[in-house]
């Protein structure tokens, strides 16, 4: 019986090994091996020539991409470019350590003295002093009183009466006012009498409407 079991086991191993030999790693598996850099230790890859060849083609393809990219970048970075870049880096580093430069506001072409009139300091002082002196003098002489003071008599009384008086002031001569008032009333009465006489002489409209 052990002999039969051994035979069966041997057969099973043989079938499995043949099945294993026909199986191959798919692309993703190969890429995983590449990414993990385990191609030398992968048991299937070491035993399967077909997968090894496919892995080699993937490896070559990726190598080509890498070589191309490196060549392109090396072309772009010439030694002159590197030297210029280094110089520029150190210029910038030096500039970092210098204090910031203050840029002055652009000046006008004309000189300052010509375009701007200088006012001496004593001018505002003198103006203020003048104002104070003026006020003080005004207080001292009381100009209002001077204006209201009685005037000396003039030769011509008519001229004196024509001088305008400040409004609100009572008349200094009451007889003159009465004469003016009553004079006006007399004038009114006389003009009324004259107007009634004139009215008698004038034909009326109702007279014209009367039948003739």
């Amino acid at each position: 019986m052990p002999h039969i079991r051994d035979l069966l086991e041997r057969n099973a191993v043989s079938i499995l090994s043949r099945l294993g030999a026909n199986r191959h790693l798919d692309d993703d598996a190969l890429l995983e091996i590449w990414a993990a850099a385990t191609s030398t230790t992968d048991p299937h890859l070491t035993s399967c020539a077909h997968c090894r060849a496919r892995f080699a083609s993937i490896d070559t393809w990726l190598d080509d991409i890498g070589t191309d990219a490196r060549a392109e970048s090396e072309e772009a970075i010439s030694p002159e470019r590197l030297a210029a870049q280094q110089a520029q880096i150190f210029r910038r580093l030096e500039a970092l350590e210098r204090p910031a430069r203050i840029i002055t506001f652009p000046k006008f072409t004309r000189a300052r003295g010509e375009q701007r009139r200088v006012v001496p300091r004593w001018v505002p002082t003198a103006a203020a002093a003048g104002l104070v002196i003026g006020l003080a003098t005004g207080q001292l002489f009381n100009l209002t009183d001077m204006l209201n003071a009685p005037r000396p008599a003039t030769n011509s009384g008519q001229v004196a009466d024509n001088v305008p008086r400040p409004s609100g002031q009572p008349s200094s001569n009451p007889s003159v006012d009465e004469a003016i008032f009553y004079g006006d009333a007399d004038l009114t009465a006389r003009s009324a009498q004259f107007l009634s006489t004139l009215d008698e002489l004038t034909p009326r409209a109702r007279d014209d409407d009367r039948p003739r």
């Binding site: 294993g20 890429l31 993990a36 393809w61 990726l62 990219a69 470019r81 870049q85 880096i89």
Partner: protein, 222 residues
């Protein structure tokens, strides 16, 4: 080459020493000496920085500016540099962030501008090329087209996948180094790298992609 290889990384000890010295000189106010010492670091990392910036920007002038900005920024912020982290990693992070910022700004700008046809670099004339024994015009044209296709496909990758692919494949960084540079886990780096390559193969539709056996989508568990 099998997968990501270790790059010829410049001596980290020398970098750390130089960075510490510059930091100390800056603190003492000896700026001229600090700059002189910093020149060592610039000279050591400039070419690699230029390559990385060029891979990102795809324009020599813009890459140039990005590198300058990164070095100036690194110098002015050297006081925040921690010695336990390699200078290369710290500086490359500054550079990559600067490049990504520039790409964002450029994308915003291009939204409002009509793009001009790309000017091809000055080519030597036919007689010169034949005399110098360089590649034939056809080969050059094909190479240029291939580069443009790869660049266009790379530009379509998500930002992280692109960064991981460029750092690990173009710059030859290991997963651990890419992890340190990008702040991602090592396993995440490998996943991003795998996805990046798979997408690139789909986008480029290369012969290699077609060489895969049509019916072989089975997976053998090792």
């Amino acid at each position: 080459m099998t997968g990501a290889q270790t790059a010829g990384v410049p001596s980290r000890e020398a970098d750390s020493l130089a960075a510490s010295a510059v930091k100390a000189l800056q603190a003492e106010g000896r700026n001229q000496e600090a700059r002189d010492r910093y020149a060592e670091l610039v000279a050591r990392h400039q070419r690699r920085a230029g390559r990385i910036a060029f891979h990102y920007m795809r324009d020599a002038a813009e890459a140039d500016e990005a590198v300058q900005d990164a070095f100036v920024k690194a110098y002015s912020h050297l006081s925040t540099f921690r010695e336990e982290l390699p200078f290369e990693v710290w500086f490359t992070r500054i550079l990559i962030n600067g490049c990504l910022d520039r790409i964002k700004a450029r994308t915003r700008r291009e939204r409002w501008l009509v793009s001009m046809p790309e000017s091809s670099p000055a080519q030597p004339d036919f007689a010169e090329r034949m005399a110098s024994g360089g590649p034939s015009p056809e080969a050059q044209l094909l190479a240029r087209e291939r580069r443009q296709q790869v660049a266009a496909a790379l530009a379509k990758l998500p930002e992280r996948q692109r960064s991981v692919f460029m750092l690990s494949h173009y710059e030859g960084c290991t997963s651990r180094e890419v992890s340190a540079l990008t702040g991602l886990n090592e396993s995440t780096v490998r996943v991003h790298l795998f996805r990046a390559i798979r997408k690139l193969r789909t986008l480029l539709g290369t012969d290699a992609a077609h060489q895969g056996l049509a019916g072989e989508k089975r997976r053998v568990n090792p």
